[in-house]
């Protein structure tokens, strides 16, 4: 699916627009950036309830294309500015983490490789 499909499936709001036509195949959901850095490999979408700039940094290091803030959380201006600088799409959905992950999974996004 593309980022556009993700927006439709999650009824998400575009907070910062990167490449909405970019294809995404895998995702991970976590509020612990340490775990994202430790265990994630080849995922292109990050779902999280954390809204500090290190979320964007973490996604950048992991070559992710899209960040989704769940539970209707609003990222601050510093987060949005950094995402724009990195040309990363930032979305916001009112769904909770479990529901957002479930919706994406049932629509074809997988958990990808677990790097251990």
């Amino acid at each position: 699916m593309t980022v556009k499909d993700v927006i439709r499936i999650l009824d998400a709001e575009v907070v910062s627009e990167g490449d909405l036509g970019a294809e995404v195949k895998t995702a991970c959901g976590s509020d612990m950036m340490s775990d994202v850095l430790a265990f994630v490999k080849d995922q292109s979408v990050l779902l999280t309830g954390l809204t500090n700039p290190q979320v964007v940094r973490t996604a950048e290091m992991m070559d992710m294309r899209c960040i989704i803030f769940v539970r209707g959380k609003d990222p601050g201006a510093d987060v949005i500015a950094l995402a724009k600088q990195k040309d990363m799409t930032v979305l916001k959905t009112n769904h909770r983490m479990f529901t957002a992950c479930g919706l994406l999974y049932t629509n074809g996004l997988s958990g990808g490789t677990f790097s251990r």
């Binding site: 612990m32 950036m33 775990d35 850095l37 430790a38 954390l50 500090n52 940094r57 290091m61």
Partner: protein, 146 residues
């Protein structure tokens, strides 16, 4: 690229939002010179974890990076409190990070184990009360995929 490219960074200790700027810059430079993407990913993650550690535990520090055709050497030096028990600090899940850092998504005790995982070699020189120097190397071409 035949020569070694060297870069120095100051990692500010008073601003958590700026942690990762040096790693981001190194990643950008490696991409620009067409370095092996897998090596770039490993360098970025390892250095980012090191930077985060310096900000969380040591009030910032300095980073020196040498990019050679066959490897990237990184030296992260701080003048923080040092690590009392390196063996314990290397254990997954062991953390001395304060609660406020955990609330930001870090401090789960994965930093040093993660650095070990993503580097081809790492060494820690530390002295309590004096500081810590972390040496990391990532080879451009690793023999076995991780």
């Amino acid at each position: 690229m035949n020569n070694v490219l060297s870069f120095d960074y100051t990692v500010p200790g008073d601003d958590f939002t700026r942690a990762g700027e040096a790693s981001s810059d190194v990643k950008h430079k490696l991409k620009k010179i067409g370095y092996n993407p897998e090596a770039i990913r490993k360098v970025a993650i390892a250095m980012y974890e090191g930077e985060i550690n310096m900000v969380i535990h040591a009030g910032g520090g300095n980073a020196h990076v040498d990019i050679s055709p066959d490897r990237v050497n990184m030296v992260l030096r701080d003048h923080g409190p040092g690590i009392e028990n390196v063996e314990l600090a290397m254990r997954e899940g062991y953390s001395t990070a304060p609660e406020k850092v955990r609330a930001l998504g870090f401090g789960a005790g994965m930093g040093l184990p993660n650095i070990k995982k993503y580097t081809d070699s790492m060494k820690i020189d530390t002295e309590v009360g004096k500081g810590t120097t972390l040496y990391m190397t990532v080879l451009a071409e690793h023999k076995t995929a991780r």
